[in-house]
């Protein structure tokens, strides 16, 4: 087990421990008392700014409450006070991603670009698999004309290298998918097919990987266009990181 994976596991264990002692934000959330629920999670994050779990849960709550600007400001203020917290920067970036489907096409570009800046800050703070995967995957949403695809592929290749040197985790299947998709979008269909095939060997139950095999280029193109449609909400729920243990 490499150091990175150990750190990740430690974070998850800590998060799991926290789970047991979570402040109760779910009851008001279920009751649609968003103000109260957000207040609880903001308090939890103030006490533990780098908490992946509280950050992720807070963002999911914010999506439900349609309070995107509040979350962006909250994470921004928190990150200003805690500039060396990698997960905090990641959640800050995701707060912008979460707002994208609610915005117009030009604002979407601005939000996406800002999110990339925060993912970069996360990576500058700490090179983690999740940050590499996240930024790499985010680049794939950019139309090819903007020439971001090679940057995404570079991040995803780095994430792949990192995961191959550590313990195999269920969520690592995402790198095979995204990197294959990146190759396909970058007009490298053979490399894409090879990556998806390699992924299937490692994760034979993956429906997403299966859906990319045995298809015509046109069908894959359609499938991938659908996956990377900026008007659809990107699933930024990070709970796989602590649930898939």
């Amino acid at each position: 087990m490499d150091g990175e994976t150990m750190r990740l596991l430690f974070t998850m264990t800590a998060a799991a421990a926290l789970w047991a002692a979570d402040p109760d934000y779910r009851t008001p959330w279920q009751a649609k008392d968003f103000e109260k629920a957000m207040g609880v999670l903001e308090g939890a994050l103030a006490a533990d700014p780098d908490s992946m779990k509280f950050g992720s849960e807070y963002r999911l709550l914010v999506i439900d409450a349609k309070a995107h600007d509040r979350a962006i400001k909250f994470f921004g203020d928190l990150a200003a006070k805690n500039p060396t917290m990698s997960n905090l920067h990641l959640n800050h970036g995701f707060a912008y991603v979460d707002k994208i489907p609610t915005a117009g096409s030009i604002t979407q570009v601005l939000l996406a670009n800002t999110s990339l800046g925060h993912f970069t800050k996360s990576l500058e703070t700490k090179q983690t698999w999740i940050a590499l995967y996240t930024r790499g995957n985010a680049y794939l949403f950019w139309p090819k004309i903007f020439k971001r695809m090679p940057l995404g592929i570079a991040d995803l290749e780095a994430a792949m290298k990192m995961q191959k040197s550590g313990k195999k985790m269920p969520f690592h299947v995402r790198s095979y998918l995204a990197l294959g998709d990146g190759y396909f979008k970058n007009d490298e269909p053979e490399k894409a097919k090879a990556m998806w095939a390699e992924g299937l060997k490692e994760y034979p139950a993956s429906d997403a990987l299966k859906s990319r095999t045995g298809k015509s280029p046109e069908e894959i193109e359609k499938l991938i266009s659908n996956v990377y449609d900026p008007y659809k909400r990107v699933d930024t729920d990070l709970s796989d990181l602590w649930k898939q243990q």
């Binding site: 117009g104 096409s105 570009v109 900026p230």
Partner: protein, 576 residues
């Protein structure tokens, strides 16, 4: 819905919905017909000339109207650069035209301080002769038809004295007093782009801009004068970047309503209260505000359910996938966008789009223009992106925008012809129809120039030659065409509604006063009847509220002349 579409497609593939097995085809005859006008956008000088040129490249427009009352439709074509003359093409029959703009006295308007951008024919004084209104980035020009092939500039006494950067104009009778009123759609706020006093003239937001020109509504006072009633009617709150206007009775209450297509932000819908005022119903009717780049407001009943629908083009390209909007009228004051379900979502960088039954099967098809700027191999978009993502980029500041030089921006786009398959779905037949040119389209004006019952259309292009497509549908169905004439008031019967029943078909059309971006179509109403040998019923709801049934011959164009008290008179239109 999907199942319905499949059934519709299968049925259409076998025998067509109306027993007509047709193939929509066109031949481009612009050169041969003598209407190959080459439009020129305004060239600006100074450091911001390049950017201003981009933002004002929308004025290639045309207007169809029978200015000489000889029965066939003529064509007025707008130019935009300094000193460039407009063209008035007189229809000589047989798809031949003669340019008579100078003799008619209507070529002017592109003076150093004004940019012509749209035009409509409308009979503002109810003398039975169509007058001409030229909209400008400046003040408009009103020409009175002197009934002898000449026009007189009567702008000075018209009351049209308010400066606006007008890109769209329609005429309609909003208060049912029998006189055609005028609505202007303004793009920029009312500042001169030629003599700039500020460089902050561009949209303040590219998704929710509120610093545009809005609209103005002018009441026809009946004495050759128009009064600005924008505020009184309730339109002064709209400050968006209007690109197009459409009118029609959207809620079937007998009053003309308004759809505003706006760039950089939400379109808007207004219902006519019937008392000289309008209520904005955008949120209720369309489910909220949009952030798209509305370019076109065409109104027609595409599914033959007796309720007017709206087709709006937006921008759909590799870098911006907004999707057009086909607003299906739900018959309860609300509309649902069905563009994805009907396959009318993507026409790239949209501009003018028009409904028309191009194969006379009884269902309205769509032709849509597109394309912003086709130039060199370098693409402007990456450069623009870098500018846009700069922190604190000030969108409205001219200096914030990079010069475009000879770069291409959403250029070389193929035009789109959609065949309506039974009112359920549209099929892209552009290449087969022969209309998939890749010029930088702007407006579309639909007419039956040669009176053969197959619709033709004229496509204007920015800085490029215009195209005339002669309709030559194979196996087209039967048809009727009616030019309605009001008895005393509203002589062109703008706003009249005609419902035709023929076999299994029931169709409804309204006479409009210039709907659709940069192109006024013919006032004559066209109905395809499919295989039906006759129209079983033709019912007219005149603008004055009277309703009557008339009998009109099939495969012929006729005048339907309302009389003061008796039945309408039918007379043939002699189209050469």
């Amino acid at each position: 819905m999907k199942r319905t579409i499949l059934i519709a497609l299968a049925a259409a593939a076998v025998f067509g919905f109306t027993g007509v097995k047709s193939r929509i085809r066109f031949t481009e005859t612009g050169e041969k017909s003598g209407v190959r006008q080459v439009h020129s956008t305004r060239k600006f000088k100074g450091p911001h000339g390049d950017v201003l040129g981009m933002f004002t490249s929308g004025g290639a427009a045309s207007a169809v109207g029978d200015f000489d009352n000889d029965g066939d439709d003529d064509l007025f074509v707008v130019d935009s650069d300094t000193g460039k003359p407009h063209r008035l093409y007189r229809n000589d029959g047989g798809m031949k035209f003669t340019e008579v703009g100078a003799q008619a006295g209507v070529t002017g308007g592109n003076d150093p301080d004004s940019i012509c951008a749209d035009a409509i024919w409308f009979d503002y004084d109810n003398d039975g002769w169509r007058d001409l209104l030229v909209a400008r980035f400046g003040t408009p020009l009103l020409y009175h038809n002197e009934k002898n092939g000449k026009f007189k500039n009567v702008t000075a006494g018209s009351g049209f004295n308010r400066f606006g950067n007008t890109i769209a104009v329609i005429s309609f009778d909003y208060d049912k007093d029998g006189m055609l009123d005028v609505m202007f759609g303004d793009y920029f706020k009312p500042v001169s782009l030629i003599n700039l006093t500020t460089t902050k003239v561009l949209p303040n937001d590219l998704d929710n801009a509120v610093n545009g020109g809005g609209v103005t509504l002018w009441h026809n006072d009946g004495n050759g004068k128009f009064s600005d009633v924008t505020s009184k009617a309730g339109f002064d709150k709209h400050t968006g970047w209007t690109l197009d206007l459409g009118h029609g009775d959207l809620n079937n209450d007998g009053w003309q309503d308004i759809y505003i297509a706006a760039d950089y932000g939400t379109d808007r819908m207004y219902f006519n209260n019937g008392n000289g005022t309008f209520s904005e119903v955008t949120t209720k009717a369309m489910g909220g505000f949009d952030t798209r780049k509305g370019m076109n407001a065409e109104i027609g009943d595409y599914d033959n359910d007796g309720w007017l629908d709206i087709y709006v083009t937006n921008i759909t390209d590799e870098y911006m996938k907004e999707c057009n909007m086909l607003w299906h009228n739900n018959a309860d004051g609300t509309f649902t966008d069905v563009s994805k379900e009907t396959n009318t979502c993507n026409t790239l960088w949209g501009w003018g789009a028009k409904f028309g039954d191009f194969d006379n099967d009884g269902w309205l098809d769509i032709f849509a223009t597109n394309g912003l700027r086709s130039r060199g191999k370098d693409n402007y978009i990456p450069l623009l992106l870098e500018a846009i993502i700069k922190p604190n980029m000030e969108f409205q500041e001219l200096a914030s925008w990079p010069a475009i030089g000879n770069m291409t921006w959403s250029g070389f786009q193929k035009k789109v012809m959609f065949k309506n398959v039974g009112g359920q779905v549209f099929k892209d037949i552009s290449a087969d129809a022969g209309v998939d040119n890749d010029l930088d389209g702007r407006g579309v004006a639909v007419a039956d120039f040669d009176g053969d019952g197959r619709l033709d259309f004229y496509q204007t292009n920015a800085d490029q030659p215009a195209l005339l497509y002669h309709g030559q549908a194979e196996g087209a169905g039967n048809w009727i065409e009616m030019k309605l004439e009001g008895a005393v008031k509203n002589r062109d019967a703008v706003g009249a509604r005609v419902t035709v029943k023929a076999g299994a078909l029931t169709m409804m059309r309204e006479v409009d006063g210039g709907n659709g971006y940069s192109g006024q179509s013919m006032l004559r109403l066209h109905f395809g009847l499919g295989a039906a040998a006759k129209a079983d019923s033709v019912e007219i709801a005149w603008p004055d509220g009277r309703k009557e049934k008339v009998a009109v011959p099939v495969n012929a164009a006729v005048y339907v002349r309302q009389t003061a008290g008796g039945a309408a008179r039918i007379a043939p239109i002699k189209v050469r």
